[in-house]
Amino acid sequence: MTDLATLVEQFLAEHPTAGADPVQWLGARFDAGLAWVHFPVGLGGLGASRTAQQAVDEAFLAANAPQPNPAAPVIGYGMAAPTILKFGTDEQKQRFLRPLYTGEEVWCQLFSEPGAGSDLATLATRAVRDGDEWVVDGQKVWTTMGHVARWGILVARTDPSLPKHQGLSYFLCDMTDPGVDVRPLRQITGEAEFNEVFLSGVRVPDANRLGAVGEGWKVATTTLMNERVTIGAHAAEREDGLIGVTAKTWRERPELRTPGLHDRLLRLWVDAEALRLTAERLRQGLAAGQPGPEGSAAKLTFATLNQAITGLDVELHGEEGLSYGDWTMRRPTDADWASRDAGFRYLRMKGNSIEGGTSEILRNIIADRILQLPKEPRGDVDIPWKDLPR
């Protein structure tokens, strides 16, 4: 096989990036197998190793390659795509992956509910079979990109008489269905980065079920594992991330420095560098075929660190730390935190230890799966979902 660098070069020669329409250009890149090289041929990939992707992405980035609609990668690339690839039928893979990649179709995630956060498997949204369709009723929350999404990955309860993990099924939900009502969910920053989604008599064709009826938890676990990897394990340069923002302020504004803040900054700098190396070690392990369990730890540490850095940053700003840029309710589609004020970052990072698995749940996962400590006694095993206290 021609090496990937050559393929990228050939592709760029045939598909100039300057002035290209992003959707068409990305479609061609998908068809050439250079979207996700580790995906199979015909589905955006070349069956190459997962680790080859970074070099390909870097080569395209260096050539100023067109980027997708910024809303597309958030849920689509990291969570929906790998789940569809793993559990989808051939028809589903053919139908959904290409427009997902080009950004023509943005995806959102319909998992969490007001009554089902950490205990996601207790969710109550119902899907009832009606011929070739399912009729879905319920309420979802914390839906990133819900207001611009064309499709949602949805977990719903198809059999309430079974214990909670067994009665779930996984669907691909059309967000343009008249029964779907998306409302902004304003958060403590003043913005509505997320949404609430009300589902009333939404009709989902059985052809849009992903995995078998009753296997929804297994499919959802794949999505959630990818969520944690997405958040926790990207390769980074020294001072990438929020520590770089604070270090820059420190260097540029000597008048803000105090001895106490200096000590805290250096401690956090060390912690940030340690986390960067931990993530890099995880990446090297994956590349060498030795996936380590450090992913859960990286997400846990990332949340603690970001909160400590942004707290320090507000204090560092002194009197300016008292002001806040703008409380206006907006619905952002990107996450450009570096350009925002310290107060915004402080408030936003409070979510890091809640979103994508709370820090407490991650500690449970580490205790169970890695340290293999004795489990806590549970009150919800082998009990039909409908009989659980709620």
Partner: protein, 363 residues
């Protein structure tokens, strides 16, 4: 980017050191030994140093060493830390050997590499790599006079590398501890498994090393600090593993105590930090092996792993409850090692001070 994984050779090395220490240095014999008049296990040291060739890992093959690197030394130190084995590895195979190599010595370093003799570096164990060249010993009429406290592994050393101030400034000298005018006085140490002693020189004969003494000493201390992080990782790993095992078997209130979330979460946090310590310790060992990015990598590892080892040992003691407070349980050996090594070769605070300059975050 540095290689943060363990290679096959490194894994094999770890396995053979661990096998040996499991067999010859169980904690029960360590605990018994530290109260005898032979606190170091010199027979075990001979096996490690001479038979397995570990004393010469840093030494090139043409000087009789193994021609390996700091990466392999780090693996050995992780295991020695895990077993809190009382051997002079840090003083002889790391500090004295690094100083001799950096100063261009070929004579004494070969003896240390072969495991025939034991060396030490005559600085207080608290000396940080960035510290000013010590002026504790002076060269007068070609002979050495002065007093150096808390020299690690000195009491079993045959030869000691002494930083001294001569007529033209910093010099490094090699002194035989058996020669006239040399007095070694052991100190009763907080760390039961690593010994320190006072070196007194009263007109002692020496052999002066060529080369830049200040640079050589700094290299030795930087190497020591970066590799001590690996030993601290080993200490922390033992504390975590042992505590996880203990809480899984100890029952109170009709349940293993490891099923209580308060304990599970503390151990999960500790595990997260230990997995970061593996990465920073590997980064420091790799930097020392390749010579790239050494100062920052070492300062990060020294700061991070020092504090982690103390935390791991303190958590281990607390989560063991009453048994952890007893002399008969080994956790206090690890606590003593962890707390003492936090002070060794630069406190975490000193290493962060160094970083402030290295990464341009001035006070």
């Amino acid at each position: 980017m540095s290689d943060l994984l363990y290679g096959e050779v490194e894994n094999d090395l770890r396995a053979s050191v661990r096998d040996l220490l499991t067999d010859r240095s169980p904690w029960t014999s360590v605990l018994t030994r530290v109260e005898t008049d032979k606190p170091y296990d010199l027979e075990l040291w001979r096996t490690l140093a001479a038979e397995m060739g570990l004393a010469g890992l840093l030494v090139p093959e043409d000087l009789g060493g193994a021609g390996a690197s700091a990466r392999e030394v780090a693996v050995v130190l992780e295991e020695l830390g895990r077993a809190v084995t009382p051997t002079p590895f840090l003083g002889s195979a790391v500090l004295a050997t690094s100083a001799l190599l950096a100063a261009g010595d070929t004579e004494t370093v070969a003896e240390l590499a072969a495991g025939q003799r034991i060396g030490a570096l005559a600085v207080p164990l608290t000396t940080a790599p960035q510290a000013a060249f010590p002026s504790l010993v002076r060269v007068e009429d070609g002979k050495l006079t002065g007093r150096v406290g808390s020299v690690v592994d000195l009491e079993v050393a045959d030869v000691v590398v002494v930083p001294a101030i001569g007529a033209d400034g910093p010099e490094l000298h090699v002194v035989q501890t058996a020669s006239a005018g040399v007095t070694v006085t052991p100190i009763t140490a907080l760390d039961l498994t690593r010994r320190i002693a006072v070196l007194e020189l009263n007109g002692a004969e020496s052999r002066k090393l060529s080369g830049d003494a200040a640079a050589a000493l700094r290299t030795a201390l930087t190497t020591g600090a970066g590799l001590l992080a690996a030993e601290q990782l080993g200490v922390a790993q033992w504390c975590l593993d042992t505590t996880a095992e203990y809480v899984s078997t100890r029952h109170q209130f009709g349940r293993p105590i490891g099923s209580f979330q308060a304990l599970r979460h503390r151990l999960a946090d500790l595990w997260a930090s230990v997995s970061s310590a593996v990465a920073v310790s590997r980064a420091a060992a790799d930097a020392l092996a390749t010579g790239s990015d050494v100062d920052i990598a070492v300062a990060v590892a020294a700061s991070f792993c020092s504090e982690l080892a103390v935390r791991a040992a303190e958590e281990a003691l607390q989560l063991h409850g009453g048994i952890g407070m007893t002399w008969e349980h080994p956790v206090h050996l690890y606590l003593g090692r962890a707390k003492s090594s936090e002070l060794a070769l630069g406190t975490p605070e000193k290493h962060r001070d160094a970083l402030a300059t290295l990464v341009n975050l001035p006070a």
